[in-house]
Amino acid sequence: MKQVININFQGRVVPIEVTAFELLKNYTESLNRHFANEEGKEEIINDIESRIGELFQERISKGATCITDDDVKAIIKSMGNPEDFEAMDDTAGASSASSSSYSQQEQQASSTTSTGHKKLYRNDNDKILGGVCSGLANYFNIDVVVTRIIFVILLFSGIGFLTYIVMWIAVPSSSTEQIGGARRKLFRDPDEKMIAGVCSGIGNYFGINPWIPRVLFLLPFLSFLSRWGHWGGFWDFGDVIRFTFSPTSLIIYIILWIVIPEALTTSEKLEMKGEKVDLNSIKASVAEEMKSVSKRAEKFGKEAASTINEKASAVTSDVKNFSKRSRGGLGNVIAMIAKIFAYFIIGCVTFAFVMALIGMGIFSIGVFPLKDYILRGPWQNIYAWGTLLLFIAVPIIAIITWLIRKIARAKANGRILGWTFGSLWAIGWVCLILLIGSIARDFKSSSRLEEEQVALVNPQVNKLVVTSSMPFSKKYYGRNWIRFEPFENLVDEDTAYVRNVYVEITRSPNDSFQVTMKRQARGNTRADANSLASLVKFSVEQKDSVLLLEKGIAINKTDKFRNQGVIITIYVPVGKQIRINKGIGWPVHIGRDWDSEWNNDYYDGEQNIRWQSDVDYIMKEDGLYTIDGRKADGWNDRESSSKKMSRNRNSGGDGYRYDEFDKKADSLRRLDEIKRQNKLDSIEKAQEKLDSIKEKIQNSGTEEPGPVSMYRMPVNDPMVEIR
């Protein structure tokens, strides 16, 4: 028993079963969707409808009481489903073997949903989880078992899981293309857009207010802006990481902007908002399911028989190529995986390259105000601009252009653009090399100026505190958001400050403090370097027990930066104390093992290890100690660099344990030289003893002592002897 209703179809009253009417309605809706982009859409649909009306009339005139489901299905079959038209467009009428049908010759290219590409769908009809694997198998024309095995293998490496989830989300279900099964698709919403409609599209997709994704996108960005002010003084690596982290939302937004299509047509807008899941659509999707197996088989036969789409990008077509051949053997499957892997690596390298370029670009823009202090003459300026514009900016622009062209599918002039960018970049390389070469020449020679004595007001103090004076106003502090070693953050209008101040502490030959200053610079020739060095102005001043050093060396635009620097050597008398205040900002050497070429081994970090600022140190015969008796590391007095001392240094670990033990016992706080010498001797003895024990053990070979007990031997033994 079926209900029959009368409908007014193309001006005629047609009695039709309710279920048949639903089928008909879904069919006309699907036609509407399909021809949404077509010029003269109404006319086409009207023509088809009037043809359907005619066919209805035919049935009724033949004596049928009403239009049944079967009638409608037969009519739809003869007219063809939109998905059949599309399949014919996409796969170029691949079904011709069975029905030898023809498809339209052309389709408007403006549509985002019905361009001539074969589309990747998750297969709803043959799925285990989300239908990703079978969808991929359909797309690449391979057996679903192969894709599933690949995913299971990938699963162990963790990539597979993520890829699967991403594809599950990103790839539309095949049911979206079936009548009545339309589900929400992610589109950018042009009607409610703020920038590109990404957020409102996401809101539509999840059925939430667009302001929720908007706020989510803005939150990290706001914190990024708020942190901007902090950058002034503390540009270190950690900040670089946070810097790239903060605009993540911006990058994600841009990627989404590129990836998500805009909802242009009414049907896309409907798809974007999702069809209401009501009785009708459920019924329709059930009806779709009930379609004969042969129909489905035919449909997938079409897809399976389809082939490389020439419009598809090179990558996918390559992969498809491989997958096609992969029917042949496992070797080809491996080759395909290798190819995918290779593309992945190339992609990563390209990405890293672009990021590096952008980083360099940001860095050079930040450093650019300093160029007047470094570059000399017009040529170096030309090279610098050439490097900035051609070497750094050109590839960034080229890659952006390439992306845009890729998205817009522009084909014309690709080669010309490629050559243009390529040659510009080559010029950029030349500029970079010339710039580096020319600057390197300016830094070629180092100065040889004698050390000069700094007059001290009161050289007899018991404790000297070294601190820095701030000669420049705070006005310019924090203005620059990037630091370029050794430039200070403070760039005045025509003066820059460099932090090239090195402090060395060594033992004084007599009982008074002495301070010497050695001025340094580099230049094209030694004479240049010497004259530049003699121009270095650096004030060292003693006020009571405080030694005031300037924070930086002023560089002006005429003399340029040629690594001007000073080495301040503080001679500390035995028994007197010295303290370096926190935040002086320059590195401190202990001892004097540098020579005139100190620049080279300055960065040998060992020199500065364990030197602590804001700690009182005391000078002893053999070096600098903290008040509680620990040796200041890195001490390397020339006078004591005898064989014995070097031996001591080699077994430094032992000596250190010594001191630790002493500290605990709180008895040997101030060892005099004799005692110390005893200790050293005993260490040697202990080591000899250890060696002999070791030998014995090895000779007897009965019991292998653990490494721990072996290590402890020399430490504990002399202790006992000393006590």
Partner: protein
Amino acid sequence: MNIENTASQMRKGVLEFCILSVIKQGEAYPSDIIDKMKAANLNILEGTLYPLLTRLKNAELLSYRWEESTSGPPRKYFSLTPKGAEFYKELETTWFELANAVKALTEAEQVYSDNNNFNNPQ
């Protein structure tokens, strides 16, 4: 490359030419066109024919007139416009050239001569 795809591409190329040639023989109603093409063993879905006709009409190659039908709604009868006739002429020339060339290439010894066969697909 795939045989069905290539074959289909070939057929796709001549579809408009075939439709025009059916209409050229006299005013035609879409289902007539379908029938004639079916008779010539050239199967086409009606759903794909209507958009094509509309495009050809929009390109001013075809015109139509309404005719009352005894059964069902009025029908559209399509005919060639002068522009369409010209267009058809050019397509025809191209087709014969192409057919001759293909024939010559595929059956090198026997040069195709009976052009008139093409005027009437039936």
